[in-house]
Structures are given as structure tokens and as C-alpha cells.
Symmetry: C2
């Protein structure tokens, strides 16, 4: 009996047209990264579990895909734990490797391990799949690509600006309208400091984020319910009601954070980045947004997030500055900043807006109908000439029925078809058919070569 | 205490320069594949173990990396097997997924699973890593890339020819001198048939292969030692001593295989492929080589192998025709032919011959020295103009010492450096330094733009 064909849930096969569309995204992103001096690296799919465990919280540890040790893996396992069926503790005895969960931890490990071979500030990008044993759902996969770009070893804010330039250029090239949201972890720290409730910073940002939807009164009710005293809520009012242009927001924040050194430092950082932006020809709107608080414990300075304007979808790019990514692997005081492009979401945006370039652009350009052995050789010699000019061309490998061959060209969205039967051959000519218009003309070989 | 940084044995990190060199190889190969109408696909890193197990022999099953089931994986495991520590049988109860071992089995699964969405003959290429729990050694990794190109759904020999064209073009583009060895499984079957010892075909090809090294007498001794009777060895003499041009070999084989229908079919197939080659402008030598016998049980027609002429290394590309790849997944009678390019070995060949294009070609083209805040803004505006022309450019993110900045440009092999201090800025000029010659000149912004 034949085996059933299926793949693990949450994983995907990619069809050629999907691959071409993904390639369009990745190539665009890579080309921009390169223009700013970033170079590619890759790390292995498998990392030692000692590298991965404890880096993503308890939940993250559970979501790591773990590789069973090779050979007689039970030989060294503890009898008592086996008889107790203690899956958690046995895991450590029968598995030493796991699949990468993100690109950040492997990158930190890489920087420390190869620090003597790298040029600092180290500007790298990395586009590779990651794996998470999450429950699969719409738009969430167990295998998906991350696309990270980071500068490590420099705390200059020019790096923040450069990442914004890159974001601007990538989404302009992809023709996606976006807004870049900008915040700074130090401003959030300053706010928590001023009101004396650093522990409530998440509740505060979540509440601020809801202002548009539920109104000021309800936001304040939520804050009270979260355990924040009325006095602190009063102090927060200018922050919650913060509005206007970036400059207006900054002026108001300067008042509120007047007594917080950290907060003022955060504002200063934002100002410097905005100065760079104003002096540049960046087209994308950059908006100071205090509700931006991704990965609070991780970032120490700038925080970025990019939203698509024309499609309802989460952020399509995000990141920030971190001051101690490599510390856990023994390299202290190395500051870095980076962003990650969400390839799957960008794919969804372009699909929904129907904005992928025609697959035809990247597929075969000229298809030769196969009329028989003699005609085949005639066609092959013309095809050699076309290919030496870089033209993508193919011939049907068999002398099949005309309808079948044209159907093949049609399904592959090939824009031009060459028909060269005995008549054409005798005159050293060929018939070129434009599949879009249906027009066809008899031309010489040189004329064909001149067309492409 | 800081964690030690290491990666699992047999796996690799890739540094930027290695990535650029690998990219050069993959881009060259992909570009040629595309020119012949092949399109990319990808499959997940993880496959169900039911898809993988039993496809690579007993040894292969052991070499599969298996993924531990998520959650409380021991809950459903058999108590008796656990107490017996039966690793083999327990594996099936605690692991359902494995990492892909090659691209061939996933491809067969893919073709069957998506047969209604594919256009046949289906021409695909696939470049992805595979994983094997082999013992790591020089040149053998536990994670390595395969680079496969196949046509499935056509038994026309034009496909064989097209693959040879692709091989020829790829290695010409990479500037590697090669010889393409060609054989046909049907010829080998014919030989086994004629001498009445089909079971000894491997011993026979191994012995023939040694003729140059150990001489005819010793070859015959080996054949005798392998259990082949003298009578059969006598019959084999014309095959063992087969020499001359491809045509001479074919004429001799026709005599020997006169009574084998299969053998003669194999010769005919070779002749047709050689006819295509003779009518083409293929530059690479193609040699009929009876000692070629890769994956005997797998291939049913043509067998290919490519050797680099100037470097001592195993084959750098190989493949053949298979008549029933998809049969195991329930799709019968689909013939295909394909080859696989050995990316790691090609990398080694180009390294040994020192034939990678300068990393500089792919890296940053112009580096701007950072003299301070004012000069920075001046440089940034020039850099915007360069980048909009597609020129790869970067600026040192900090106002560091000149030596440090030049050192950075040097290590990154950046060919041109721009120095724009206060003087240059006031005159709307800049100093362009050629890092190779050491020459420098003061030019205007427009002149700089015209240079690139």
C-alpha cells in the first residue's frame, strides 16, 4: 500500500510561484542591507541545548524542538527517572541539541565565539529559518524565516538612523506604505521612575495604547484596576494625553521627565535620531509612540516597530538597541542595535494588496514547441544563442500534442512561444507568438535575438 | 560564570567572507538552472519519520536526526520498553519527526502530495541543508547543503542532454575544468546478464575502475577472488579492456552486449545523448565510463558524474535517471532524471585553486571616514546619492581615530575611501582614495557620482 503523504503540522512546502515571490522579498531586503555595508552570516540549525536553554523563559524552553541523541540514548538515562516517566528531567539525559528558536541568541553566541575573526563594529544580516513548537494557527508556523540585521560594537545613534534608512528603503522598494513607530526604553524607565511604580510599566503602556478605542476615562479606570494609586495616575495624565507632532510630544515629555536623568537621556537620543531623519530624504513617516514597549527587559535604548498602513496586520518589522546581548556568553559591554523583518507578514501584505511582480518576470521567457527530432535540433541551436545572451528559455522535452505543449507554456506563464516547424526551418526562420496579445509573426533568428 | 561558546560537532558557522563565496557558487548555479526553465521549491526541515524511515537502508535510519516529541513525551511510552532501556523501540514512541536526510525523498513526497498543483514535466531545483548523524571528519559534515535539479514526468533523453548542458555551463561559469563521466544502468545490467552473474555487478565495476592502478592481471585476480568463475571473467575481458574514444567503446560494447536487449537499449540511449552533445557547443569533455555505478539500485538509465581536472577530490556533481521515485508514495510510472551539485566540494575546489572572485566585489564599495558631527551630515547626503545609484557605501558610525577607521576599511577590503573634512566640506568637495594604489584625489560630488 502506498504511504500517505503529509508534512508535520505547522510546517510548509513552497510551490515555485511562492518561492519566486519569497525570493523577491528576500532579494530586495538583502540588496538594501548590502548597500549599507551589512554582510551575511549563517549559523547551524542545531545549537547545543546549553546555548539555548534559559534564554527564552520557561515557556520558551518548552517550545524548543529538541534532538534525540544518536545511538543507544537510553543507556545513560537514570532508571528511577525513567520509571517515574519524568519527561522534563529525562530530556536533559537523552537530548543535547535543539533547533534554533530565533537568530538573536545564536548571533550572540557567534559574536563571542568568533570575536577575533570579526571586524567591529560588526554589521551583519542573517536570513534563516527558526523553529518553535508553538501551537500552529493561521499565520503562525512551527518553521518560519527570520531576517535580522544588526550592528554590534557601536553605541552611536547613527546606527539607529541607518536602520531607519534601511527600513524606509526596503518598504519603498516593496511599495508597501508604512509608518515607523519609534520609542526609547529610557523614556519608559523615566516614566516609571517619576511615578514611583517601575513594576507597572507594562500595564501603563498597554493602557495608553487603548486611549483611542476606550477613551481617557476608561484608561484611567484600567490603571486604577491594575493597582496603580490615584496619585500616580494623576502624574501620568500628561503622558497618557500626549499628542501632536513628534516635536510637541518631546516638549511635553521634557516637562514630565524633568526630574528623571534616564528619561531625559531617552528624549535626547530620540532627538538626535530625528535630527538625522530630518536632514535626510527618508520618505516614510516616523512617529514617536510611547505605547511601543516590545521586549521590555531586553532593550535598553531605541525601540522600533513598522506598521503597514493599507493592511490590517501586526507589525512587519521591529527591533531596538540592547546593551548586553553577549554578556551571557562572557563578552561584556558590547552594545548593539538591530531590527528583524517579518518575511511571512510581508508576504501576506503583498499578497493581499496583489502587489507581487508577475511570476512571469522571473520565470522562463521563451518557450519552444517541440515538433520532432529534426526541428528539435534546429530549436536547440537557437536556444543556445538565446541563453548565451542570458535569456531564460526551454523546449518541451517530447513531441507531444500541440495543445498539451501550449498548455504547459500557459500554466508556467511563459510570455513568448517560438514555433519552428519544417517550413520555418527550411527558411531559417521561426514564428514568435506573444502569449499576452496572441499576436504572432515570422522572423529570422537574428531578429529574435534582437528582441531580447 | 560565562557560558562556553560552542556548536554541535560536525556543524559550522559561516563568516561573511565564506558566505559571499558560497553565495557566488549558489547564485551561479541558480542562474543557470533558471536559464533552462527550472524553478525553485522548498520543503520543511522536519519531515514525518514515516516519510523518512526505511528509505535509506538500516544504516540510514540510524543516521536520521530525530526530534523529541513536545510536552510529556514519556506519558505514552511503554513501561516495559522503558525498563528494558530499549532505545530503538522507544524511539518510535517518543519521536514522530526527523530532520531531512537528503532532498530526494522529500522531493518524491512533495511531487505526490502536490501533483495537482504542479505543471508536468516538472522542472525544479532545490537548495537546502540536510542533516546526517554521521561521524564528522574532514570534509564531512552533519549539516551540509544539497543542490538538486530534476525533471520529473518525462522520459525524453533531451532531459539528459539538458542536464549536461547545465553542468557544462555551471562549471564554465565557475571556471572549473571538468570531465563529465557518463554511463547507463542498462549497460551494466546487460553486462551482468551476459555473464550470468547479476549479483556481481558491483565487484565488476569496482575491479574495472582499478585497471589503471593495478593492471589487467590483478584485476582478473580480484574478480576471481570475488567469486566470479573463470568462464565469466573470460567473457568480461572485452569490457574490462574497453578503451578508445566514446564511439570506439560503443562499437566494442555492441559486440559484447549483442544478445542483451537491455544492454543494447542502454547503448542506444547513450548514443542519442552523445548525438545531442555533438550537435551542441558544449565545451566540457564527456566520457563514457563503465566504472560509474553510483546508487545502483536507485538509477534505471543514465548515470552522470563530474570530476574536477585540476584538483584531487571526489566527484563534484552526480546523478542519473530513476523510473520509480514516487512509487513508494503511490504515484507509479513517473520517470525523472536529475543531478546534485556538491556545494561543499565545489567550495573546496575554488578555494584550493584560489579562484573565488575578490570578496571586495561583493562587499562595500565606498567607505566614508567619520570626522565629526558636521562632516557626518555632509557625508550622509553624498552617501544617499551614491546608494540611490546602487553603490554599496558605509560610514564609520563614530568619530574614532583615523587609524582605527582606516583599519576597518582595510579589513573589510573596501576598495575606495572618501575623506571629507572641514576643508573639503567648505568647497563642496571630497578626497577619494584608491586603497589598492594608495592614490588620492580631490574631486567634486558630481565627479564622485560619475566614477561609480
Amino acid at each position: 500500500m502506498a504511504q500517505k503523504t503529509s508534512i508535520p503540522k505547522g510546517t510548509r512546502d513552497f510551490l515555485p510561484v511562492e518561492m519566486l515571490n519569497r525570493e523577491f522579498i528576500f532579494d530586495t531586503i538583502k540588496m538594501v542591507f548590502r548597500k549599507y555595508g551589512f554582510l551575511p552570516i549563517e549559523t547551524p540549525a542545531m545549537e547545543n541545548l546549553s546555548t539555548l536553554m534559559g534564554k527564552y523563559g520557561e515557556e520558551g524552553d518548552k517550545l524548543l524542538f529538541k534532538i534525540l541523541n544518536s545511538g543507544d540514548f537510553l543507556a545513560k538515562a537514570d532508571d528511577k527517572l525513567l520509571s517515574e516517566k519524568n519527561s522534563v528531567k529525562i530530556t536533559r539525559q537523552i537530548s543535547e541539541k535543539g533547533l534554533r528558536y530565533d537568530l538573536t541568541v545564536p548571533f550572540a553566541r557567534y559574536v563571542v565565539q568568533h570575536r577575533n575573526d570579526l571586524v567591529f563594529p560588526f554589521k551583519r544580516y542573517q536570513i534563516q529559518p527558526v523553529w518553535r513548537a508553538d501551537r500552529p494557527q493561521k499565520g503562525r508556523y512551527r518553521e518560519f524565516f527570520q531576517c535580522d540585521v544588526d550592528v554590534i560594537g557601536s553605541d552611536s545613534l547613527l546606527n539607529e538612523f541607518e536602520l531607519i534608512q534601511i527600513i524606509d528603503e526596503v518598504f519603498n522598494k516593496l511599495k508597501i506604505n508604512t509608518v515607523i513607530k519609534l520609542n526609547n526604553r529610557k523614556i519608559l524607565s523615566g516614566i516609571a521612575e517619576i511615578i514611583g511604580h517601575a513594576d507597572k510599566i507594562v500595564a501603563i503602556t498597554v493602557a495608553i495604547d487603548k486611549l483611542d478605542k476606550i477613551g481617557l476615562e476608561n484608561v484611567n479606570k484600567e490603571l486604577l484596576a491594575s493597582g496603580l494609586p490615584q496619585e500616580a495616575i494623576d502624574k501620568l495624565q500628561p503622558v497618557i494625553q500626549l499628542s501632536g507632532t513628534n516635536n510637541e510630544k518631546i516638549e511635553q515629555l521634557k516637562q514630565v521627565l524633568n526630574n528623571s536623568e534616564t528619561g531625559l537621556k531617552g528624549i535626547q537620543e530620540i532627538e538626535i535620531v530625528l535630527e538625522y531623519i530630518n536632514a535626510s530624504s527618508i520618505k516614510t513617516e516616523v512617529e514617536l509612540d510611547l505605547t511601543l514597549a516590545r521586549g521590555l527587559n531586553y532593550y535598553t535604548g531605541a525601540i522600533f516597530e513598522v506598521k503597514a498602513k493599507d493592511v490590517q496586520i501586526g507589525s512587519i518589522c521591529g527591533g531596538g538597541r540592547y546593551d548586553d546581548l553577549t554578556g551571557i556568553f562572557g563578552l561584556k559591554d558590547v552594545s548593539g542595535v538591530g531590527v528583524s523583518f517579518g518575511a511571512d507578514r510581508i508576504y501576506d501584505v503583498l499578497s493581499q494588496l496583489n502587489m507581487f511582480p508577475q511570476a512571469a518576470m522571473n520565470s522562463t521567457q521563451v518557450f519552444f514547441v517541440n515538433f520532432g527530432k529534426k526541428e528539435e535540433l534546429y530549436c536547440l541551436s537557437i536556444m543556445e544563442k538565446l541563453r548565451s545572451k542570458g535569456v531564460k528559455t526551454e523546449i518541451y522535452p517530447e513531441t507531444a500534442k500541440m495543445k498539451k505543449q501550449m498548455n504547459y507554456a500557459d500554466k508556467k506563464q511563459i510570455p513568448f512561444v517560438v514555433l519552428a516547424g519544417e517550413n520555418e526551418m527550411n527558411e531559417q526562420k521561426l514564428t514568435l507568438k506573444d502569449m499576452k496579445t496572441g499576436e504572432q509573426k515570422v522572423i529570422g533568428i537574428d531578429e529574435l535575438l534582437a528582441e531580447f
